[in-house]
């Protein structure tokens, strides 16, 4: 349970970090919060020859919100993103998902961008980025590229970050229109990896009729799965919508695997039930007159818990 030996690098600037990553190539790994990487090292599931510790690059510890969305720097801790009031007003789904990421102590150290690069199919932030259609900015010596969520996750624990590259920020766009969101999951204990999780976004028109309903899933597919469930709900209001039909459609479109935590059949049951609950809560939030326009609610954690009731 001790990590294998490695060479440690602590660059003082981003160019120096990219220089080092370029030099060590395949044998290098970025160390940000380390809340996924260090367990992997401790359990000897990986043994990179070089770790490039970016904890000194405090210029990357930012959360910036503008009219279009939220940009999160590579060194922003989950807890900082979760606590950021501007980010919450612009993209409520961030806090809704972050409060389900492990435990507060882990969120104090773990980074949001790091969890995206880790690409765990059970990671909440992968579902958030995918549902919002966000992107990750990757830098290497001599250039940067931006990769959309749909292309970023290439397999379980596998993202498209190449040797020599480093994820420097992630962008979570604001949802337009009268849109509400919700993130719920079922885990054996709060803070554990979810057996199934659902991030939902529902958009209503001015007559409060549903025009769009989408959901992203974790723990039921090798990469984040986004489903458009509008066909089962279009035209209905939050009071008349047939949420279970949307849940049935989602269950038909997922093919979860069995493991020691839950059977495939049970996970599909969770998809059905959690989809219905998440969509309903998202729609109610979208219809809230206090929400209006393109906001997503001023909910605090308390009202989240009351409305979803899914962690029983």
């Amino acid at each position: 349970m001790k990590p294998p030996a490695f060479r440690y690098h602590s660059p003082r600037s981003l160019p120096e970090a990219l220089d080092t990553l370029d030099a060590v190539g395949h044998d290098g790994k970025v160390l940000a919060g380390g809340q996924s990487l260090i367990p992997i090292l401790n359990m000897r599931l990986a043994a990179p020859g070089h770790l490039v510790d970016i904890n000194g690059l405090t210029e990357l510890a930012y959360v910036r919100t503008d009219a279009d969305g939220v940009r999160v720097g590579a060194l922003a801790r989950h807890a900082d993103v979760e606590a950021d009031a501007d980010a919450h007003r612009a993209v409520s789904l961030l806090r809704q998902g972050l409060r389900l990421v492990a435990h507060p102590v882990i969120r104090n150290r773990g980074t949001t961008v790091g969890s995206l690069v880790h690409a765990d199919p059970s990671g909440e932030m992968t579902a958030v980025l995918s549902l919002l259609g966000g992107s990750v900015e990757l830098a290497r010596l001599g250039g940067t590229r931006r990769v959309g969520a749909a292309d970023f996750f290439t397999g379980p624990l596998e993202s498209c970050v190449e040797p020599g590259e480093m994820a420097v920020s992630a962008y979570f766009p604001r949802l337009r229109g009268r849109t509400g969101t919700e993130f719920i999951e079922a885990a054996r204990r709060h803070g554990d990896y979810a057996m199934c999780g659902v991030a939902a976004a529902v958009t209503l028109d001015d007559d409060l009729r549903i025009v769009s309903a989408r959901a992203a899933y974790l723990s039921v597919s090798p990469v984040p799965l986004v489903l458009d469930l509008t066909e089962t709900l279009a035209g209905a209001t939050p009071d008349t919508a047939h949420w279970r039909a949307a849940g049935e459609l989602a269950a038909d479109r997922t093919e979860p695997d069995s493991d020691i935590h839950a059977t495939a059949e049970y996970r599909r049951h969770l998809v059905r039930v959690l989809t219905a609950r998440a969509l309903r809560t998202a729609a109610v939030r979208g219809a809230d007159p206090a929400v209006g326009g393109d906001g997503q609610g001023s909910d605090d954690q308390g009202s989240d818990d009351r409305e979803c009731g899914a962690r029983d």
């Binding site: 160390l31 380390g34 809340q35 260090i38 401790n42 709060h190």
Partner: protein
């Protein structure tokens, strides 16, 4: 290969300490083996149990999920640093004693560092909030009931002073 070594300076409980450590030395092991601060306990070594939790710049973090070399330049508070310099216990320690919040004591350092930091930011938690606050720490003895009582008791001590009556939080 010859293992890369680092001369590091760490500020632990207000004292500047030095150690020579390999890159891979976990902060938990550095505290215990290199600095002799065995109050920090090591349980699972992959971030699940919470026994090794210390405060880094006042925020609780898992010392088994940090390298000692990464902790340079930060203020580390271990369980040894919670009590006053004159030896009088921190309110959380006092509350654990009064409420029987520990039995074997293995998990206790992690609970104490987490709760002490939590109560700084949330001085008046409800019972549900107290349970949530300790949700990332495992205890195999107490069944948690008395730890939850201790969180509430500690909040009361901090808010009202040490002579606050015990009865409400700790009926036994």
């Amino acid at each position: 290969m010859t293992e890369q070594m680092h001369e590091i300076e760490l500020r632990v409980n207000g004292v500047l300490r030095t150690a020579t450590v390999p890159s891979r030395r976990l902060l938990s092991d550095c505290l215990r083996h290199d600095l002799g601060l065995t109050g920090t306990h090591v349980g699972c070594e992959h971030g699940v149990c919470g026994a090794c939790t210390v405060q880094i710049d006042g925020r609780p973090m898992r010392s088994c999920l940090m390298f000692a070399v990464s902790a340079r330049g930060h203020e580390i508070t271990t369980v040894e640093g919670l009590a006053d310099p004159d030896g009088s216990m921190h309110a959380v320690q006092q509350a654990f004693r009064e409420c029987h919040g520990l039995q074997c004591g293995f998990c206790t350092p992690g609970f104490l560092t987490v709760i002490a930091a939590y109560l700084r930011d949330h001085p008046d938690p409800t019972e549900a909030e107290a349970r949530e606050a300790i949700g990332g720490n495992l205890c195999r003895c107490t069944g948690y009931q008395n730890i939850v009582k201790a969180v509430l008791r500690a909040a009361r001590i901090l808010n009202e002073g040490t002579d606050a009556p015990v009865a409400e939080e700790a009926p036994r």
